[in-house]
Symmetry: C2
């Protein structure tokens, strides 16, 4: 909440090439504020000027805070030496994430400037499947041996602690690299100096497999309230740590993706303000066209009832009302279930329980909406606002019965689709509200016209 006040001043300094003054002005700012400042600067190449001046450590941190496309732009503009310096200051997980997102030519130039050790750390992280714990762990942690005392652990941390991602939690590892436990630095400081490190905190070992999906990682952090968790391979060897501030970013990204998918589009993968116009069109247009093609089936379905519509146009008036109610109840159910699956409140095996519950909910909600609709139609008739071809009660009953069927069907489809998608290995959030609505629209039409034919075949729809 600081940077924006200084912006005009900083621009002035760059324009006048007052580099020393600029260096001083930047020294008082947090790296994340400098990153924000860079994004707001109108001037071309102002970012490169700032990077020439920043001390190496904060240059790397500022760089980590920039969006991917701006990072790419900067990498192309910086000299090899500057690039090396920025990269060397980044943590391996940030390096890995950067390398993964860059076009091949930039990656090649970038891998050339990494030292062999940095390269191998970044490569290790990249060896895990996307969106698993292995991708965003960092190997920069302090490992203690189990025979150390609190005093020794403190001295060891003092000696080897610099440059680690976090010192908040230290890890107890045996000579074979097997994780035995962890201990908070705060607990080490306040402990009896002569107690051995495994004695300090009596808490059980909690660890994360490197292959765990990142949404599961978020839930593990929520469950255990820790500031960092260790990542292990399937033999229990400690590989790295994940810190909760990275997990917060993951949680927000996952939620953003889910919200955009539920809205009926591809995830944008970048802030709205930074997605290009045509990129945006592509991410929205694809799903819109697919939904549109699905929805053309409604025209086909209605085509089958064209004679009925021509005979009694009044039947057509309620089409949008009926099918939208099915879509709305489906949209509710799918949003609830997608989120409950993401938070691991529901597991795949719970589908049968949800099935029963949503049938009951759908029936109750449909009956309720139908009653509202029935009253509305009868009321309009008595007020003389609509005539319903002289059969208000029959039409009102048709609407009521159809709504029970359509809303029940909508709730059920909305609730089951996320389970089915998860079962076949797809993202449950693909069961977007518009997708469910489209599915329900076609079926809803068939339900409605079938009910109408059954109820009205002796009156309005006689002889059709």
């Amino acid at each position: 909440m600081i940077g924006s006040l200084l912006q005009p001043e900083i621009e002035e300094l760059i324009r006048n090439q007052q580099w020393n003054e600029l260096r001083e002005a930047l020294a008082g700012l947090d790296p994340s504020d400098i990153a924000e400042l860079i994004l707001d600067l109108p001037e071309e190449r102002a970012d490169v000027a700032i990077f020439r001046i920043l001390p190496r450590d904060s240059a790397a941190t500022v760089f980590s805070h920039l969006p991917p496309d701006h990072q790419e732009h900067l990498l192309r503009a910086l000299s090899n030496e500057q690039m090396r310096s920025v990269l060397a200051g980044m943590s391996p997980d940030d390096q890995a994430r950067l390398i993964e997102h860059l076009p091949a030519e930039v990656t090649r130039r970038l891998l050339e400037v990494l030292s062999p050790e940095e390269l191998s750390q970044a490569r290790d992280l990249l060896g895990y499947p996307p969106n698993t714990a292995g991708r965003f762990m960092t190997p920069k942690y302090v490992a203690l041996f189990p025979e150390m005392t609190a005093e020794q652990a403190l001295a060891y941390t003092r000696q080897f602690g610099r440059g680690k991602e976090t010192l908040n939690v230290l890890y107890i590892v045996d000579r074979n690299g097997i994780l035995l436990g962890d201990v908070r630095l705060g607990a080490v400081v306040t402990a009896d100096p002569n107690s051995t490190v495994p004695e300090i905190e009596g808490r059980p070992v909690v660890s994360i497999p490197a292959t765990m999906d990142r949404q599961d990682v978020v839930q593990e952090f929520r469950k255990y309230d820790r500031s960092a968790l260790p990542v292990v391979d399937d033999q229990g060897h400690m590989l790295g740590i994940i810190t909760v501030d990275d997990v917060l970013d993951v949680a927000e990204e996952e939620a953003t993706e889910d919200i955009q998918k539920i809205g009926g589009m591809e995830a944008l993968d970048a802030p709205y303000t930074q997605v290009g116009f045509f990129d945006m069109l592509k991410k929205r247009g694809g799903w819109l066209a697919a939904l549109f093609l699905g929805e053309t089936l409604t025209a086909t379905a209605m085509g089958h009832f064209e004679k009925e519509i021509a005979r009694a146009a009044v039947v057509a008036l309620f089409v949008p009302l009926i099918i939208s109610s099915g879509g709305n109840s489906g949209s509710q159910a799918t949003s609830i279930i997608i989120r409950a699956l993401a938070l691991r409140e529901l597991k795949l095996r719970d589908w049968w329980w949800v099935f029963g519950r949503e049938i009951a909910s759908g029936f109750a909600l449909g009956a309720f909406l139908g009653a509202v609709g029935f009253c509305r139609i009868v009321l309009w008739h008595y007020l003389g606002w609509a005539h319903y071809d002289g059969h208000p009660y029959l039409i009102a009953t048709t609407v009521w019965v159809s709504l029970i069927g359509v809303v029940t069907f909508g709730s059920l489809v909305g609730a089951m689709l996320p389970f089915i998608l998860r079962r076949v290995g797809l993202d449950p959030a693909t069961a977007s509200a518009p997708f469910v609505a489209t599915l329900v629209d076609v079926t809803g039409l068939v339900i409605y016209f079938t009910v109408a034919l059954l109820i009205l075949h002796n009156t309005l729809l006689k002889g059709v």
Copy 2:
């Protein structure tokens, strides 16, 4: 990931009243796993049995991990002495959150058992408006004076650090209680023992006003990547700290609320599996009924075009297709904008920029969908699958032109509604996908029939 394996064994121990063995079995478990175990235990009052046995500290932690309704149930079952012991072990922010959620009678009993000091801490936290930083800060932190050296700070932490929420970050506060800065314990440990604490970390002070909205707090944590941030009043006095693990919970809760609202319902405020059937109906039924009443306007709108429908039923066939496309594009736009506002990627003042962009997007997407629709209709005509009363090109043009209008309007309404809601002080997520779809349906019908009248008045709709 440990508890579930032990469950049958634990049940066995409780049934046989083997309390000592039970105590031993629980000692090896993390409090969050014990909480999970309690939720899974089928036996009535098994939870009370477990709470009798747990040591005081872990009893409080286990209790914090239970869902609110289970906490309430337990509080009623525990003796006053047990309740005191559980509460005393909880941090003030957890106490405050608990008190806020309980029915008045339980709260009264509970406030009686709190010590005056605990009560005043919990009351302080409760004095801030709901969903602000003041509500989930904790006053349990270590404050250093600026003249202390690293060595003194370490000794001070050793002496006063027990029982604090976190020792990961220590706070530098002057004699008047004004926050001067913070320093990580890890940096204190690795620093030159003789340097004073303000010298250790050259980073600028970042703090959070107590009245800041909790979604803003999440974004501040994302920006600064800190494990804890200090909370201050408007004069800069330090009031407490917020730790990132609490912020992770807030971020997930906020996203859950937004997703459920976007789905077109009230936020559930509890996991799906723990919301009662009738509660669920209430939270879904209210919005469904409101949307339904809004949607009855489509019947009114279509009533105005009943003559046209009776004359050329073919026109009615495309109604669901057209209006659903408007709803889908609106659903996309509203989800994107709601999320961008929540993440503070967009500010209120950006509405004008979004307005221009969404008009352009909507027009492009509508023109694209219209082209798809045009081809589909003409193709069906040539394949002989539909006859369109002999005017396939006129109908296809009607669909095309209408889609441009409806999709543009849908994108615009979907994008602007969240801004308007935020402007008048409501939650932007109230602009749910179904809400936008309903708004767009009514207007979409009018657009479609108006275009149809303009294009078809000399042919299919002659003389209407």
